[in-house]
């Protein structure tokens, strides 16, 4: 985004650096080129814009998402691996007026936590889940995940993922949209380009709005780069997201808000 802004200086556009939301104005330790930072920024901006940045509790997953904990200035609990769906269920039940967010990676939400994640969606819990999908277990050194691409080399699939014995990459927002009728919102974004980042922000905001209105469960999965474990440069990783990952994980909204459906009528 910064590169994009610089090209505009020729036309003397008055560029004001965007203020970092107070919620996240602390150093975080993600790898260079990782998408987590962009996603966290988007969530914090949306919370600010919705006037909820002083009314939020995070349930943070285990993995690279753990690193968010040290960078946040808000109520947040580092949940056991995969259990954020259960922890956030209770937080929202006892504090219905707080915005409750689970922030998890694909390993946390879809592998070890598939039971808790799916069950929260199934019960239509009124919190919001953000899943950062980088198609591998980043924190532990790049092992295979339930979202690893067919043929993708990881440290536990060194010859490339063999889907005949390990399963096909899981598409969770589609599962929510197709199976859980009561759920309010399900979408998938990506951090690969400024256009996709902007779209992702609208998805994040809609998910939070679905929670604020009490419409039901909301989930946004965000495809994210992992240059460290993919063995790529940051620009290569962004290109890879678009060219290799997105074809298997289509971007867009799979379930739109009930309020929006009402407006259509």
């Amino acid at each position: 985004m910064a590169a994009n802004a610089n090209t505009n200086t020729k036309t003397k556009v008055n560029i004001k650096p965007r203020k970092v939301p107070a919620l996240i104005d602390r150093p975080m330790s993600f790898c260079p080129g990782c998408g987590h930072g962009i996603i966290i920024r988007l969530i914090a901006e949306c919370l600010e814009e919705l006037g909820q940045d002083d009314n939020v509790i995070f349930g943070i997953g285990v993995g690279c998402s753990s690193l968010l904990g040290g960078g946040l200035e808000t109520d947040r609990l580092h949940c056991s691996h995969g259990r954020a769906g259960a922890v956030c269920t209770a937080m929202k039940r006892v504090n219905p007026d707080n915005v409750v967010i689970s922030y998890q990676g694909d390993g946390d939400a879809y592998s070890i936590g598939i039971g808790e994640t799916t069950s929260a969606a199934y019960r239509n819990e009124r919190f919001t889940t953000f899943v950062v999908n980088n198609t591998n277990y980043g924190m532990t050194g790049g092992q295979m995940s339930n979202t690893t691409m067919p043929g993708q080399k990881t440290t536990t699939s060194p010859d490339g993922r063999d889907c005949t014995t390990t399963g096909m990459p899981l598409r969770f927002p589609e599962l929510v949209a197709s199976q859980f009728d009561a759920a309010a919102y399900a979408a998938r974004g990506s951090v690969s380009t400024p256009a996709n980042i902007n779209k992702t922000k609208t998805y994040i905001k809609k998910a939070l709005e679905a929670q604020l209105s009490g419409e039901g469960y909301s989930v946004v999965e965000i495809l994210s780069s992992c240059p460290t474990n993919w063995g790529m440069t940051a620009p290569e990783a962004m290109k890879h997201l678009d060219q290799a990952v997105t074809p298997h994980f289509p971007l867009g909204e799979f379930k739109i808000r009930t309020k929006e459906q009402g407006e259509v009528k």
Partner: protein, 366 residues
């Protein structure tokens, strides 16, 4: 238990109603025999009092829900048995790590693996030693009657919050299922604890990410030592002049009291210590025992003998304090144990154990 008072109520239901009256406003769990009545009761009763109830997809999810509600400062309780409590260990160590109070009821059933439906005391070591990963303790309370189960439920919440620890109410299948008269505790107005999450980051001590384990370990030991010093609870009788002292908790503890009374009536110098807290172990009770006691007899319902270890450790420590000759692990007074596996040993069976100790047929464990 002095005189018979109160209405007849099942042990499990007495615990559930006592929890409500203590101000519990959140329950999450997964049913398992012989604990399910607690969950069933909570499913409608919490709704009546404006609390929240979640039938979780598993015990793991259930205890993690308890973490979520406890972090928001709500009195929270879950119950299970045997293998269900095994699954809850992950959450119990996390609660302990974050110093979040909660009450976990273990209606103990017998067996390893999925176990059986028989009443037992086989989880003593697990409950008193922490159970999950890491290095922590839970306060463990052991009722021997329905009335005591109700009273200790309230106590379990108070202690959990006083020390920011997990309290385990370690009851037994038989006690959970049986009915007795019980005077239920008074209804308290539920409170939110000021340290709970409110979305405004008012309290920065939960959800700690920058750890200093060296400092935390010192604080943890100070806390646990304080609990050991002031929260030991027990019932004891006839121990000052006893030649043999029985030690038993819960339902076997109750049966032991009957056996001691009968043996006393026959002229035998016996007494009993009934631990009410299994952790902290009531070491102080042993200070009042006859210094010339000839032996301790552990009465417990498990296969291998577990309580006997804590008795031996305590007796050895008492011996050292008094300066007795306690070298090479041999203690001043021998400790005997004939584990009764499951169920509640009869008065007759306990008296037979005593006879076997006297005749030398039952060898000392320590």
């Amino acid at each position: 238990m002095s005189t018979v008072k109160g209405e007849m109520i099942k042990g499990n239901e007495a615990i559930a109603e006592a929890a409500i009256r203590a101000g519990a406003r959140f329950y999450a769990g997964y049913p398992i025999t012989p604990s399910s009545e607690i969950m069933e009761y909570m499913s409608w009763r919490l709704k009546e009092v404006g609390g929240a109830f979640v039938q979780a997809e598993s015990e793991i999810a259930g205890i993690n829900m308890i973490i979520g509600s406890a972090a928001c400062g709500v009195r929270s309780i879950t119950a299970s048995s045997g293998p269900g409590i095994s699954l809850k260990q992950e959450g119990m160590t996390t609660l302990s790590d974050e110093e979040l109070p909660a009450v976990v009821v273990n209606v103990v059933r017998y067996g390893n693996g999925i176990g059986t439906l028989l009443s037992a005391q086989c989880d003593y070591h697990r409950e008193t030693r922490g159970g999950g990963n890491g290095d922590y303790r839970c306060i463990v309370l052991c009722p021997s009657s329905v009335q005591e189960a109700a009273d200790l439920t309230v106590e379990a919440f108070d202690l959990a919050e006083k020390y920011r620890m997990v309290s385990v109410l370690m009851t037994e299948g038989a006690l959970g299922q049986m009915m007795e008269p019980c005077v239920l505790p008074e209804m308290q107005t539920p409170k939110r604890f000021e340290w709970g999450f409110d979305g405004k980051y008012s309290n920065k001590k939960i959800g700690i990410f920058d750890r200093d384990s060296m400092k935390e370990s010192v604080a943890l030991n100070e806390k646990y030592n304080k609990v050991k010093e002031i929260e030991q609870r027990w019932e004891a009788q006839h121990i000052e002049d006893a030649e043999y002292v029985f030690v038993a908790y819960g339902m076997p503890g109750r049966a032991t009291i009957g056996a001691v009374e009968q043996l006393r009536a026959q002229g035998h110098k016996v007494g009993y210590i009934r631990p009410i807290t299994a952790w902290p172990f009531p070491e102080k009770a042993f200070e009042q025992v006859n210094p010339d006691v000839k032996g301790y007899i552990s009465i417990e319902a498990n296969a291998t003998g577990q309580l006997v270890d804590d008795i031996a450790l305590t007796v050895m420590r008492q011996g050292k304090k008094k300066g007795s000759n306690c070298v090479g692990g041999s203690c001043p007074a021998p400790v005997y144990c004939n584990p009764h596996v499951y169920g509640v040993p009869s008065t007759k069976a306990i008296m037979e154990d005593y006879s076997k100790v006297l005749s030398g047929e039952l060898k000392e464990v320590y």
